[in-house]
């Protein structure tokens, strides 16, 4: 049995060794109200805040794009860019889930799917799915249009783009994407400007 935490006045042993998070919180909040022992109070409230913080979801809602995925029908990732920090294992799980979510949808269905606490806006071009994950309250149609704009840019850049172009030139696709979206925000809405930029980037040695 380990002491739960230690201070000058307080020394607590969990009696049965199986404190859950919420039990701990309860205990701590009791301690925080314990007037006779100010030291216990302050320690408990600090601990309490840490616990409460740990229990809240990490990403508070913002309007940025969370990630963009290009996948083919078999679920192979052709491009993945994450604008939020994620573990590698989490990324793979997520790619798998998004693919499962969009691959069997009828073309007559909506292009928006709710995904965990967010939503995925996807569009299918031949065998490729372009998926964007955004906040649940964000403007779906605008992102749908931006996916199309991105595809138009790719199409123009690779002149008649096909899946293989993207596979062999993945670094170029990243460059285009970086000209299009920065830090999860759309930075350039003009197709012409991006194409020109890419032309100049290609000229750099």
């Amino acid at each position: 049995m380990k002491p739960l935490y230690r201070s000058n006045q307080v020394f607590i042993h969990p009696s049965n060794g199986s404190f859950t998070g919420s039990a701990l919180l309860k205990l701590l909040s009791k301690l925080a109200h314990h007037r006779s022992c100010p030291r216990a109070q302050s320690l408990a409230s600090a601990q309490l805040a840490v616990e409460a913080h740990r229990q809240t979801p990490h990403h508070s809602p913002v309007t940025m794009i969370r990630f963009i995925l290009l996948q083919n029908r078999q679920g192979k990732t052709r491009l993945a860019k994450y604008y939020i920090p994620l573990e590698d294992s989490e990324k793979h799980k997520l790619e798998y889930e998004v693919h499962r979510l969009v691959v069997n949808r009828d073309p007559k269905f909506t292009n928006f799917v709710e995904f965990r606490t967010h939503k995925v806006i996807y569009r299918r071009y031949a065998g490729l799915f372009f998926s964007l994950c955004v906040d649940i309250t964000d403007n779906e149609l605008a992102y749908l249009e931006s996916i199309h704009l991105f595809v138009e840019i790719l199409d123009h850049f690779f002149s008649n783009v096909c899946e293989l172009d993207l596979v062999f030139n993945f670094h170029k696709v990243y460059l285009i994407l970086d000209e299009f979206i920065l830090a999860g925000e759309l930075q350039e809405t003009s197709k012409k400007a991006i194409i020109e930029r890419m032309g100049e980037l290609e000229k750099q040695d």
Binding site: S42, S45, D106, L141, L182
Partner: protein, 927 residues
């Protein structure tokens, strides 16, 4: 040298790697491992080209195959430092794909990034900015803020745009940057390049959505931009910002309503249109004109047939549901049609809307429509429909149900619908209604008898919860059974009951006993009252005689004495034991004894079982010498592996069938077991078939399975069948009257309510707590804005309205507004000192030089009273920042319901009282 040559000659290029990977059909993982091994070797090479290629390959493998590349982070930094652009960009790509806040080599990148951010080549700068946006941590942000700040004023709009966008990340990681850069960000809204303006608005939009109140002073700027904006993306962001601001400031709503309506009328882009509609539903609900226009536009768009527009339309209507029920009533036809849509997300949205509009006056019609749709819908949606019916009707003690007779038929219909999986909930509600609503018991019993009699239902495991409840109800109230106890006995003893799970079967057996007791007692009364008449009757209807009942029970229950389940076996033995005296009808004495025993039993059974409150246990006083908190570990070995089943529900049968199923890993007996069979049960089956002809298939061929349950949407559908054809699309939708829910009326039968039931777990929306970083950002921005304002800074033209604002004029040259300074005056009327309740306070360890802040919900606002909560002052060094101060201002402008944050004064000598609200500064143009 030669080996290096060889290496570079024979290194596989990216293309080779990709091609090789594509050829691997099966052994991909082996190929991957080999490729990674190669990359590892090549990374050690001194030749930059080999290294770069290796890194690029690794980046590809990480993206496409999920290979780990954290080990190569140092190599990535090396490549980033290379001078050739084509190498550098590979390094930067690798870094932005694989680095995260905690990567250890990040400390090495600070100078590199500094250099590249200041590079003459704008593409290098752009690479660095992009990478920065992905890898930024607090240290990097602190070190690079000056660079980003400089870049925001760059002469090249390409760089300005990128620097502005990356600012948001910097703010989040390092809130002190706001003091430096916020003014420049606001200035960027006047930039000559529209893309830079767009970037600045994007950042501000993001910030505004998190903490709108702090940005109210910028409203005039946003308004001006919206007025002249021709870029749809920019307009969307601006409209979104107003969506966040207008709920806080009604006058802003009045100002913006006109332009927004104009925009909606003339705009072609649907994305912008829907953003406008969203803003109206958020902040302009009181502007009838705007709402009307929205509803009109929504209907136009939903009629276009595009699924996306339909979905968004339904979503927007849902936002109007509470405040403008008429909007839904007007579009109800479209909404109901959406139930038929193939897309589950549209169906769900429509269902939510329909359920949201259900009230006492239209519940009958609505449920009728939904039940019809449920019959044709696919399994999953059908169950969603049914569960929402059950939920809505069962809400708050059946608040909206006034005709319980009707509701009981709905419940039994729900059980009978082919895809239905809600047996447990139906059973629970049936029991609940039977117990609570006395006047409707006869109807419940009739419905339950119907459920019990239908052999098809027995074959559906999901329904056993309902059957269990039905059996119990019928057993309790057997005197109300419509066709008498004998019919019930037959239903309870039909051959297919073997498909039941043991625990349900045990309830069936108990019911058989109860029914038999009741039957025998009534028989006895009749027998002794007018013996002669009865004998004659007996001759006529052999079936109904006591002897027949005894035989029926014996025949069916005897096999169960060998049941593998203990409970079933025991109860079967019990029932048969009660029957023994009646085996020989001529042995009058034994029969008499039997009757006496049954009379005693019937007295036991006739006691009414009432509902028990879930809190009942709490009211039992605790015995004084009960040591309930003692550690019971010592009992572990004694208890062993016994699984003690605790029923925590209101009543025994409320444990759902699923739990039982999970517990016992129950598989219904296979058909072979059922029909492969000894002759006696075949004969039974034959008999039963003869008796319940209508439930069997007409042919004499061996029955493969039972036909689906006889769905008699009796009461629920009578209304529509009288209308004519039963096609769901022809259903008279106009019969739905959608109005606001009303209070229950007097004609509703009494529903027994238990006290202290009101604190049943209701729907509570958890208050989301903002992250630590966010709080810091808002604090800093609030300070930045108020500082600008109060100093009357000339450079802050972007912020300041031409007229200035009322409160900024008032505030003079002080750091805080006068109102608040008054409040901080020590000569306050009343000071309350509270200890404790310090939830949500935390000393920030990451950025020690940053203001500490606390937040709390202010609940009590009494005018002209100041409350100061002090927890402790300097008790421990780590917590000395924990003094919490709450100022309740005179409620002069509006209610403050939100959680306010308080920056703590940084000057040690000053009294640590802070500005609680910054909302006083409302631009004059609104007034």
């Amino acid at each position: 040298m030669a080996s290096a040559m060889m290496e570079s000659l024979f290194q596989r290029t990216l293309d080779d790697l990709v091609k090789g990977l594509r050829l691997q059909m099966v052994g991909e993982s082996r190929y991957l491992a080999k490729a990674l091994e190669e990359v590892r070797k090549e990374m050690k090479s001194t030749d930059p080209i080999i290294k770069v290629t290796a890194l690029q390959k690794l980046t590809y493998l990480q993206m496409a195959c999920g290979a780990d590349m954290s080990w190569a982070s140092f190599c990535a930094v090396e490549v980033m430092t290379m001078t050739r652009f084509s190498h550098k960009k590979v390094g930067y790509l690798a870094a932005s794909q694989s680095f995260h806040e905690g990567t250890d080599v990040l400390v090495l990148t600070t100078n590199l990034l500094k250099k590249d951010l200041g590079s003459k080549n704008e593409y290098e700068t752009s690479l660095a900015i992009e990478c920065l946006s992905r890898i930024l941590n607090a240290d990097l942000a602190a070190a690079l803020t000056p660079e980003v700040f400089t870049l925001m004023a760059s002469s090249r709009s390409y760089i300005r745009k990128k620097a502005t966008l990356v600012l948001l990340r910097v703010f989040v990681k390092y809130p002190d940057a706001i003091r430096v850069a916020f003014k420049r960000l606001v200035e960027k809204m006047d930039d000559a390049d529209p893309q830079v303006v767009c970037a600045a608005v994007s950042v501000l939009c993001e910030l505004t959505l998190k903490e709108p109140r702090a940005y109210l002073p910028l409203a005039p700027e946003f308004y001006r931009l919206l007025d002249k904006s021709s870029n749809n993306w920019l307009s969307i962001k601006l409209v979104k910002i107003f969506g966040a601001l207008t709920p806080l400031e009604p006058r802003l709503g009045r100002k913006i309503a006109g332009p927004l309506c104009d925009l909606m009328r003339k705009v072609h882009a649907k994305s912008l249109l829907f953003e406008c509609i969203r803003t109206v539903t958020l902040g302009l609900r009181d502007h009838t004109g705007a709402v009307k226009l929205c509803v009109e536009k929504l209907r136009e768009n939903m009629d276009l047939g595009d699924p996306n527009l339909k979905y968004l339309g339904l979503k927007a209507l849902a936002a109007l549901m509470d405040s403008h029920p008429w909007a839904l009533a007007e579009s109800k036809e479209v909404i109901i049609k959406c139930l038929n849509d193939g897309d589950i997300s549209i169906q769900r949205r429509a269902l939510v809307l329909i359920m949201g509009m259900v009230s006492e006056s239209n519940v009958v019609e609505t449920v009728q429509v939904l039940l019809r749709y449920a019959q044709s819908a696919d399994a999953s949606f059908c169950n969603e429909l049914l569960s929402s019916i059950l939920q809505t009707c069962g809400r708050a003690r059946y608040e909206i149900v006034s005709d319980f007779g009707w509701y009981v038929t709905v419940l039994s219909d729900i059980a009978c619908i082919p895809h239905s999986e809600h047996g447990g909930e139906v059973g629970r509600q049936l029991m609940d209604v039977a117990i609570r609503v006395e006047s409707v018991r006869t109807d419940v019993v009739r419905a339950c008898c119907g459920l019990l009699a239908d052999p098809a239902l027995l074959g559906r495991p999901a329904l056993q919860g309902a059957l269990c409840a039905a059996a119990w109800i019928v057993g309790e109230h057997i005197t109300r059974a419509p066709h008498g106890p004998y019919e019930v006995l037959e239903a309870l003893l039909q051959p297919r009951t073997r498909l039941l799970h043991f625990s349900v079967h045990a309830v069936y057996l108990q019911t058989v006993l109860k029914v038999f007791v009741s039957y025998a007692i009534s028989y006895q009364h009749r027998y002794f009252a007018k013996k002669e008449v009865l004998e004659q009757e007996e001759v006529v209807t052999q079936r109904g005689s006591l002897h027949a009942a005894v035989e029926l029970i014996k025949e069916n229950i005897t096999p169960l004495m060998n049941s593998v389940d203990m409970e079933v076996q025991e109860r079967a033995c019990n029932v048969l034991g009660q029957l023994q005296p009646f085996e020989d009808p001529n042995d009058i004495h034994r029969v008499q004894d039997g009757f006496e025993m049954l009379t005693a039993l019937s007295e036991v059974f006739s006691l009414d079982l009432g509902p028990v409150s879930v809190h009942a246990q709490g009211r039992v006083p605790l015995p004084e010498n009960l040591l309930i908190e003692n550690n019971l570990d010592a009992l572990g070995p004694v208890c062993g592996s016994d699984d003690v089943l605790l029923n925590t529900g209101e009543a025994k049968t409320s444990t759902s069938y699923r739990e039982w199923e999970a517990e016992f890993n129950f598989q219904p007996p296979s058909k072979e077991n059922l029909s492969g069979v000894d002759p006696s049960s075949a004969a039974l089956l034959q008999q039963h078939r003869h008796r319940y002809e209508n439930f069997y298939l007409p042919s004499d061929a061996p029955v493969v399975d039972y036909p689906p349950a006889q769905l008699t949407l009796s009461a629920a559908t009578t209304a529509s069948t009288s209308h004519g054809p039963t096609d769901s699309s022809v259903f008279n939708e106009n019969s739905l009257v959608w109005t606001k829910p009303r209070q229950a009326k007097a004609r509703r039968p009494a529903v027994v309510a238990l006290d202290d039931e009101d604190d049943l777990p209701g729907i509570s929306t958890p208050v989301s707590k903002k992250g630590l970083k966010d709080e810091l950002v808002f604090e800093a921005i609030r300070d930045a804005l108020s500082a600008d304002r109060n100093k009357g800074h000339s450079a802050a033209d972007g912020l300041e309205t031409p007229q200035g604002t009322s409160s900024s004029r008032k505030s003079g040259h002080g750091h805080r507004s006068t109102k608040n300074r008054d409040a901080t005056n020590p000569r306050v009327d009343e000071i309350q000192i509270h200890a404790g309740d310090g939830v949500g306070q935390e000393a920030d360890s990451q950025t020690p030089n940053v203001v500490h802040r606390e937040h709390r919900r202010s609940r009590h606002h009494r005018p002209s009273k100041l409350e100061i909560h002090v927890i402790n002052d300097g008790l421990s060094s780590e917590n000395e920042s924990e003094g919490t101060f709450k100022l309740s201002e005179k409620a002069h402008k509006k209610k403050h319901k939100h959680r306010s944050s308080h920056p703590r004064s940084r000057r040690p000598g000053k009294s640590p009282v802070s500005n609680s609200q910054n909302s006083g500064s409302i631009p004059d143009f609104l007034l």
